[in-house]
């Protein structure tokens, strides 16, 4: 295992001590040091702000990509799975309507801003909602074999 020798250890402790003393220093002390070092405080601040800002954005963008990937995987799984839904569009609509009658608490999930008028839902939307309810284990249907 790599070990530090005495000089390296000594220097590390001195440097860590200096960093801690800086954290505890008063703002006026820090400003005085910046002035003595002829540092342009605004340039330095902009540089640091840029590092922190881009680190934050990079992290959030990565999380967004991960969420999108997870959503796409889940959506593809639902699309790829065969569910025993009724054969005809009318039966499927009837099933969704009866489910909503039994479980009105599901309504906010389905009746969104996009789909305010339930009667205007396309069969594709109805099937999609049924598949999602089924995937979530929230739909009880007869086990009759279907193609959907």
């Amino acid at each position: 295992m790599p070990k530090f020798d005495k000089h390296e250890e000594d220097l590390m402790r001195v440097m860590f001590g200096l960093s801690d003393s800086l954290a505890d220093a008063s703002p006026s002390e820090v400003l005085e040091e910046a002035e003595r070092s002829q540092v342009n405080l605004l340039d330095e601040a902009e540089e640091v702000r840029g590092i922190l800002r881009s680190a934050g954005r990079a992290y959030l963008q990565r999380r967004l990509r991960e969420s999108r990937r997870a959503y796409e995987t889940a959506a593809a799984e639902i699309q790829g799975t065969k569910y025993d839904l009724p054969e005809t569009a009318a039966e499927r609509r009837q099933l969704l309507e009866s489910t909503l009658r039994e479980r009105p608490d599901f309504e906010p999930i389905i009746v969104t801003v996009q789909h305010r008028d339930f009667s205007k839902l396309s069969d594709e939307d109805v099937t999609s909602f049924l598949r999602q309810l089924k995937a979530l284990g929230l739909l009880n249907t007869s086990a009759s074999p279907t193609s959907r």
Binding site: M1, P2, K3, F4, D5, H7, E8, D10, L11, M12, R13, V14, M15, F16, G17, L18, S19, D20, S21, L22, A23, D24, A25, P27, E29, V30, L31, E33, A34, R36, S37, V39, L41, L42, E44, A45, E47, V48, R49, I51, L52, R53, S54, A55, G56, A58, Y59, L60, R62, R63, R65, E66
Partner: protein, 206 residues
Amino acid sequence: MRQLGGRGTRNECATTAEVMAAIESLSAEEDFRLKRFARFRIRGLGRAAMGRTYSCLLAQAVASTLQGAESKTKGRKWDKNRVPFVDHLFGAVRSISTHWKEAYERRGTEAERYDWETATEDEFGDLVRPTDLAADPAADPFRSCAAKELLDALDRRFAKDEDALLVIEARKEDMTIPEIVTELEVTEKRARAAMQRIRYFMEGRL
């Protein structure tokens, strides 16, 4: 030390939006202080920094804080009601650099395992292969000489500054300012002033 909430203030972990807003609200003096703080840590790490710079250290502190804002178990949580953001970042940088040092000291067996067994992703999603960071377990004479030269330079520069010399020697023994005050009978004001002189001398050598 800056204080926010006192007794009775409830703990509340900041959200990601609050962390991002806090970055923008740091003052120029705090940004400057953070940079120098991180540079001292990197200089102290020496070869354990593995080529990483102060900006890597600051970036990791932010990523870890955002992770803490989203996760119950991962990352570092910023208790926004109790700790000023800049102090939270000092703590994160301190802890990450200590972790880097310890991780470096544990190294040496990376080459004995396959990459696919040990590769992980960091907070930014970049693949980290332990063999990329493999350390030579042998002592590094160059680093050791460089460390000795800098320590000698400090001794020479402060040969006539008793307080500064005392503080340097005390730090080599890992003593804190309160310990220096108690055990070496130097007033806190003198100890801090000596630290400031040493910091100023070191500024051009980081």
